[in-house]
């Protein structure tokens, strides 16, 4: 009997894995087409003359008049029928060619890739900070619900959620950069310039992570299998690592997935405060300049990132969740 169990388990896991990947693959393709078309239509319906905005993005609006706008319109073929322009973009997308920016004339893939890297770096480090700070606070708070640590953690949650990231960022800059001189205020050079923006985002997020971790840990600790683990004489540390944290992570990981998506899409303010080149920055410029290819590509990348993150979350939960083994037992 013992010899068969891993094999059955592997089969179940593999079929679940294939299911997740297939479902997410179809989702990604659908999202790509939908987002592209929507972006295109939304930019089309924005007020103002697109050729004029593009010209102003290129040359600065001081140097732009109707004549320049007309020459941009002719150069980019903006007066062609809408369906033709959209069809062109979709055809190129099929060939994985994202085209060139209307404003900077640089390849879109190159430009968006650069900002994507910046965003991913920032989001990854910010999430790490959030998990370390929030996770530690949550686990400590859960040791004695209602105790001093728990109350302090609750105050922390409320505090960091109440401070807007912009203010928090400025405070961090004033303390760590202007006063202590430990870290550069802004920039995108060495690794040290990443710390303050990531800390700003991570601190804001750590409050909620702490809350979710605390609740999950409290709940798991009261469960029968944890009590059983204690009863069978496992040391506290092992119970925590093997049973409590792992089961709490099943709750925490999907939550972090959602937060990662929010981090990637919603960090425009922090990016601009720290002059950090990320997708939010690129998105704002693209909207302002009516740079349709960059906008479409950025939105596409963001949409695919959401799908990717959800896939990773699904897989991580599949890996973490002990319940499929219980399925095996009943099989």
């Amino acid at each position: 009997m013992a010899d068969h169990r891993p094999a059955v388990g592997v089969v179940i896991r593999r079929s679940a894995l294939v299911g997740v990947l297939a479902r997410r693959g179809v989702q990604a393709a659908g999202v790509a087409v939908l987002v592209s078309v929507l972006c295109f239509l939304v930019v089309r319906s924005l007020p103002g003359d697109a050729a004029y905005r593009i010209a102003a993005g290129r040359y600065g609006y001081d140097l732009v008049d109707q004549e320049t706008a007309d020459s941009v319109r002719a150069e980019l073929g903006l007066d062609r029928p809408v369906w033709q322009q959209l069809g062109d973009w979709l055809l190129h997308l099929l060939r994985l060619d994202l085209g060139r920016s209307l404003v900077t004339s640089r390849p879109v893939a190159e430009e968006v890739g650069y900002y994507l890297l910046g965003t991913l770096q920032l989001a990854a480090v910010a999430l790490t900070f959030a998990v370390v700070l929030g996770g530690a606070a949550g686990v400590l708070a859960a040791r004695r619900p209602g105790g001093i640590v728990d109350r302090l953690a609750t105050a922390w949650v409320a505090g960091v959620r109440a401070v807007p990231p912009f203010l928090l960022g400025l405070l961090l800059v004033v303390v760590f950069s202007a006063q202590l001189g430990l870290l550069p205020a802004v920039g995108h050079g060495d690794a040290s310039s990443l710390v303050l923006p990531a800390l700003t985002l991570g601190t804001g997020l750590s409050g909620l992570v702490a809350r979710v971790t605390r609740d999950a840990v409290v709940e798991v600790r009261q469960s029968e299998y944890v009590r059983f683990a204690h009863t069978k004489g496992l040391p506290e540390r092992l119970v925590l690592l093997r049973h409590v944290l792992r089961n709490a992570a099943v709750v925490l990981v999907p939550y972090l997935g959602v937060q990662a998506v929010i981090l990637i899409e919603g960090v425009v303010v922090v990016e601009s405060l720290f002059a950090w080149p990320g997708l939010g920055h690129s998105l704002v410029h693209a909207v302002f300049w009516r740079d349709v290819p960059v906008l479409q590509a950025t939105a596409l990348v963001l949409a695919l990132l959401v799908v990717t993150i959800n896939t990773v979350v699904d897989l991580a939960v599949l890996w973490l969740d002990p319940r499929p083994r219980r399925l095996e037992a009943s099989a």
Partner: protein
């Protein structure tokens, strides 16, 4: 066992990432003694000279044939001298001897012609406006053959879109892939859109500058820039807002420099509008504006209140005129004369029609919407209703084209090339201008502009300039509101910093490290 390993791996992961990012943390406030750190709000999105070329000219990486000095007068750049034929249809620019590009190749008349032809093909470059028949390389000079006389050609050639780049700067489709200029500094690295590093170019034909390395970093938020200025993370910081300026002034080791910019915030008026066509109404609107209070509230400096169209930093265009005044009574009297009388609710009306106007502005400059609402409040006090519409800057030319524009609050730069005449001629074009007058022309102004374009000089030119400014002052087709000041926070590590009002270059070669 696998479970335990996984749990340990999970627990260890954050610690590893933290260690990796944390270990590089302690190196922030090192002031590299040989590097000048410049911070500004402008981003560099493209290497094309017509797009973001001004940054490279200001960093003294690229050069134009002609440049301008601190007084806005023409000065030799890559050309040592220039002359024109008697009809001003042929111009010759003598190139400086011994100039080399940063890749070591010599600057030849042919390479100069190639770069200029590219600039002339860019619609956005002022050079595209010049009626060029051909540009010809000569033995040690370049010659322009024009189809019509064009006296301001040397001034146009101060514009950053006309910089001379090495042939190797372009790819096979004519796009700029690398900035290979001729200036005293050469590009070491560029990371679009935010950072540029340059170093002294050993092959520079002039005296070696004192500053060896320069970095430029673009920082969008004024708050962040101010913090960098006061915490010694930058040596020169451009574009501080009032709160940041106060902070810098209260900090030791860093000071503020400022200079009036040749830019005016003004109300563009549709002079063919049934209401605004009446010069008395335009004068009344002007009299209703408390410019000092507005400049003080929005720009935090009451000296920026405009007393006439062009600021005193352009002395040739700033004649002695009676300053624009704030006088509500006079404004009401003028409006009454034009038939507008207060109704029951105090709002002005004529034949039962209330006096309400639409004012368009755009958010590209943060102070414009704020000033627009200040204007709205000021005009409400004399009973004129204003509907403020903050929209795209493209709406201004679009509504000019279809005639629906009433009032627009715009910021106009008057010295895009070193000679304001080029911009003034456009602003007062009799057929109207996207960023100038609308449905307004005046024979005296036309003939003065034409005489200046034909090369009037000295006292005669002064008289023509005065005619243009005075007529505009009286007729108010453009109602001046405020001027602009640009500022920079400069570290005491640096000696010899001077702000060039035209921002042609940042004059890094004049700087020295304070001993």
């Amino acid at each position: 066992m696998r479970t335990l390993l996984r749990a340990r791996a999970l627990a260890a992961l954050p610690a590893i990432v933290l260690a990796v990012t944390g270990c590089a943390g302690a190196s922030a406030r090192t002031s590299p003694t040989d590097t000048l750190r410049i911070v500004g709000p402008f981003e560099v999105h493209s290497l094309e000279p017509a797009a973001d070329g001004e940054v490279f000219t200001r960093l003294q990486v690229t050069e134009t044939l002609v440049t301008s000095d601190l007084d806005g007068e023409l000065a030799p750049g890559l050309a040592t001298q220039w002359s024109s034929s008697s009809e001003n249809t042929e111009w010759e620019f003598e190139l400086v001897e011994g100039a080399t590009f940063h890749d070591g190749t010599p600057v030849t008349p042919e390479s100069v012609v190639a770069a200029l032809e590219k600039a002339a093909a860019e619609t956005a470059s002022p050079l595209a406006e010049v009626p060029i028949d051909q540009i010809r390389p000569e033995e040690s000079s370049v010659a322009f053959e024009l189809t019509q006389p064009y006296l301001t050609l040397p001034a146009v050639l101060t514009h950053y879109s006309t910089v001379i780049l090495a042939p190797a700067s372009y790819d096979d489709q004519g796009r700029v892939t690398e900035i290979i200029g001729t200036g005293p500094y050469a590009v070491k690295s560029v990371e679009l859109p935010a950072s540029i590093q340059t170093a002294r170019f050993d092959g520079w034909r002039g005296a070696a500058p004192a500053i060896e390395n320069v970095t430029f970093q673009s920082v969008g938020r004024a708050e962040s820039r101010a913090l960098m200025a006061v915490s010694d993370q930058a040596d020169v910081v451009f574009g501080l807002e009032p709160a940041g300026r106060q902070r810098v002034e209260a900090t030791d080791g860093v000071g503020m420099e400022s200079s009036l910019q040749p830019r005016t915030i003004l109300l563009k008026v549709n002079a063919a509008h049934p209401v605004l066509g009446d010069v008395r109404v335009r004068r009344a609107l002007s009299l209703a504006l408390d410019r000092e209070a507005m400049a003080n509230a929005v720009l935090r400096e009451k000296e920026l209140a405009a007393t006439q169209l062009l600021p005193p930093s352009l002395p040739a265009w700033h004649p002695d005129l009676e300053p624009l005044e704030h006088d509500q009574e006079a404004a009401r009297a003028l409006l009454a004369e034009a038939g507008w009388t207060p109704g029951a609710d105090g709002a002005l009306q004529r034949d039962g029609v209330p006096l309400t106007l639409n004012l368009v502005t755009y958010p590209d400059r943060a102070e414009l919407p704020a000033l627009a609402t200040a204007i709205q409040a000021a005009l409400a006090e004399i009973g004129v209703g204003i509907e403020v519409e903050v929209t795209n800057s493209s709406e201004v030319p679009a509504r000019q084209a279809d005639g629906s524009l009433e009032l627009a609050l715009i910021a106009r730069h008057f010295a895009l090339v070193s000679d304001p005449l080029v911009t003034v001629a456009d602003v007062f074009a009799p057929e109207g201008s996207d960023w100038g007058v609308m449905n307004w022309s005046d024979p005296a102004v036309d003939s003065a502009v034409n005489a200046l374009l034909q090369g009037a000089s000295d006292a005669e030119a002064e008289q023509h300039r005065a005619t243009i400014v005075r007529t505009a002052h009286e007729q108010l087709p453009l109602v001046p509101v405020a001027w602009y000041r640009m500022n920079a926070a400069v570290s005491e590590r640096v000696d010899g910093f001077v702000l060039d009002p035209l921002e042609t270059t940042w004059r890094i070669t004049d700087l020295q490290w304070a001993s």
